[in-house]
Symmetry: C5
Subunit: 87 residues, 5 copies
Amino acid sequence: MIVGKVVGSVVATRKNEKLVGSKFLIVEPYKSMNIKEKMVAVDNVGAGIGEIVLVATGSAARIGLNLDNSPIDAAIVGIVDDAVGLE
Amino acid sequence: MIVGKVVGSVVATRKNEKLVGSKFLIVEPYKSMNIKEKMVAVDNVGAGIGEIVLVATGSAARIGLNLDNSPIDAAIVGIVDDAVGLE
Amino acid sequence: MIVGKVVGSVVATRKNEKLVGSKFLIVEPYKSMNIKEKMVAVDNVGAGIGEIVLVATGSAARIGLNLDNSPIDAAIVGIVDDAVGLE
Amino acid sequence: MIVGKVVGSVVATRKNEKLVGSKFLIVEPYKSMNIKEKMVAVDNVGAGIGEIVLVATGSAARIGLNLDNSPIDAAIVGIVDDAVGLE
Amino acid sequence: MIVGKVVGSVVATRKNEKLVGSKFLIVEPYKSMNIKEKMVAVDNVGAGIGEIVLVATGSAARIGLNLDNSPIDAAIVGIVDDAVGLE
């Protein structure tokens, strides 16, 4: 998983039917993680812009959200309250 | 997922039989996503050259398209209408 | 898998219910592995800050931990006692 | 998927038994894809050195080839006849 | 898959129980593959330090080794006898 900050959102009216109802947020990895690529993740915890979140990627994202058959490869699965080692 | 722009297409007459009928589009990640690698994705939403799209990768691509047994690792699953945070 | 050092931890009170009880540790890949990206991994072996560990990523992480349906994409699956070739 | 050029081949006499009969080709991503890493892919379409091919990676490679239980993570699944946007 | 050289090994006494009996080797990708990251792979073919090997990654590693439920994401699945295009 990675720790990142929610920096935006994406709206797609025309989309795969299994994605209807999903909220797509743009996550920028936390600077000290040394990951430069942003990602679009489906929100699973009610995250909002500016929050620091935990993101799971790959098959873990869709299966962890009980959306086994959806085309989802990244999901916000936690709101980070505190972190040590990322200063 | 990533947000990208459809910049081209690929034609392959000789291919795995499960790919017959699939449309292969070349997607360039949106500049501010900080991803330099382009990808070839199967279209699932009627996307065209120049459109901004949402792409799912990995097993999510084939399973999300109900093409569980096809050799597909990336799929265009949405047309992006609006995005905040990618300016 | 990669060899890395546990350099921190993450606390997330609000999270996917399947993650309740998991310990999230931040792992920095061992320098000579030439991997700059840090990762957040679920601890499976009682690892602590400062320890050198073995991390499995992708579907192997959740399935290897018997947490098949959890949104986990990285897990600490060993404490490294000795290594040759990473000096 | 990626578009690449077949630039070589690999012979391995001692190998996992499920790989017996597979042809391993080295693929260099097409320059404009901005992917520098080469990969070894199992041929599924009778590709030869110098041909431009479509490569699927991850679980899609083995499942798409009906080799669900083989240790294959990349497969050549098409011969590219024409491409727009990769000039 | 990638072609690499076995450059070391890792010993972990305390580990996930499904990893007991596995041999962990450190593989450095062959220079011309343009992959800088090393990886730790489970040996499936009796490879030794200094040998040039074929490595499969992702779910292919554990499933290809009939270790479907083990936290393994990379495996050495062949000893390379000869290669064209990697000079």
